[in-house]
């Protein structure tokens, strides 16, 4: 499929998500307190978007992933936060 067709199909949706992300960052900036590990991780991924080259989704997912290899001693919680606390 050519680029103009892909742009026709997905530009409006991507634009909407981009504005939502920008508004979220504005909301965070207006709030009190400091960034936690989730926000630090998320901000670090933003530079990946502007870089040329393939596999942007994969690279961002890896940046948000636990980089360790060994199993943890115990689960502690059942839920996931979306970013690695060790970032």
């Amino acid at each position: 499929m050519d680029r103009s067709r892909i742009t026709d199909l997905y530009f409006a949706e991507a634009r909407s998500k981009l504005i939502d992300l920008a508004a979220f960052l504005d909301r965070i900036d207006r709030s009190e307190g400091a960034d936690d590990f989730r926000m630090k991780s998320l901000r670090s991924t933003l530079t990946e978007l502007a870089k040329p080259g393939p596999d942007k989704a994969k690279k961002i997912l890896l940046l948000l992933s636990d980089q360790t290899k060994e199993p943890v001693a115990e689960a502690g919680t059942k839920s996931a936060s979306g970013a690695w606390a060790g970032f």
């Binding site: 890896l62 948000l64 199993p71 001693a73 996931a80």
Partner: protein, 280 residues
């Protein structure tokens, strides 16, 4: 359009979802054992759940002419209680000869803990000893990449595991190649927020090809969409994929994988369950 929903937690869904799925072209639904949203307090709770998956839910689905199959296990979210897990593992073989039980699943990891790894290894060993197929859950979000690598390593270390009879589910862009490169099947789960969107799922199909891939909705009691597979099919059509390519991905591929278990006979089961439902 016709499709097979290979991963849906229908005990958590309303009856209208069955009607909508069948209306959209669903020809069979498969339900792996899952976490209830709270920890069960005893092995008896699992016994009742397995009876629900093997007896009651197929009758509920049969009211809509929909064949229902299930997979059995203790979910990794409940693996920290090793004594309870061992009790449940000991109970599972007595259910494996039920006509709708396809194998062991969804086993795997959640937070990548030592106990989760131990119980996953025991489930894999159980599946191998009983010649069962395996459906694997991979962890959520930040835990997925690490967990998928641990899971693949454990499966590869067990010489009794045939990768062609194992599906590693919930893959995303950073894990799909880990599953496919090792010879396993890979499942892409379509969720409104976490896991994968329809457009990203189609991207992966275009990049990696459709071989050994299936799509599923994994609808449960959380944010999820029971019609995610047919809606993704419509998105594929919008993007220019042929009817044949779509049919292969959402019907042919799950049919190919699941038919490795001779119990997965769609037409036969549907007629038997319809008869049973009428007699109840």
């Amino acid at each position: 359009m016709r499709y097979i929903e290979p991963h849906a937690h229908m005990v958590s869904r309303v009856t209208d979802d069955y009607a909508a799925m069948v209306t959209a072209g669903c020809r069979a639904v498969c339900e792996p054992a899952f976490w209830a949203g709270f920890d069960r307090s005893s092995a008896q709770g699992f016994y009742d759940y397995f009876c629900q998956l093997a007896e009651y839910e197929p009758r509920r689905a049969a009211q809509f002419g929909l064949p229902h199959f299930s997979w059995l296990c203790l979910n990794p979210k409940e693996a920290e209680n090793l004594a309870l897990a061992d009790e449940v593992l000991a109970m599972i073989p007595s259910f494996l000869d039920r006509p709708n039980v396809l194998g062991i699943g969804e086993i795997g990891l959640n937070k990548n803990s030592r106990n989760e790894v131990a119980i996953f290894e025991k489930h894999v060993d159980l599946a191998v000893r009983h010649g069962q197929m395996i459906l694997v859950h991979t962890p959520h979000l930040e835990d997925k990449w690490k967990g998928t690598r641990l899971i693949v390593d454990i499966l590869k270390q067990n010489r009794g595991v045939d990768p062609t009879r194992v599906i590693i589910d919930h893959v995303e862009e950073h894990t799909v190649d880990l599953a496919l490169d090792a010879g396993f099947w890979a499942g892409i789960t379509l969720y409104p927020q976490s896991k994968c969107t329809p457009s990203r799922a189609i991207d992966m199909v275009e990049i990696y090809g459709a071989q050994r891939l299936w799509l599923n909705c994994a609808c449960d009691w959380g944010h999820s969409e029971p019609l995610a597979v047919p809606k993704t099919a419509l998105e594929m059509k919008r993007r220019g994929h042929s009817e044949a390519a779509i049919d292969r991905l959402i019907y042919g591929n799950p049919l190919q994988f699941l038919s490795q278990n001779p119990k997965f006979r769609i037409d036969k089961i549907a007629s038997e369950d319809k008869r049973d439902a009428a007699q109840k």
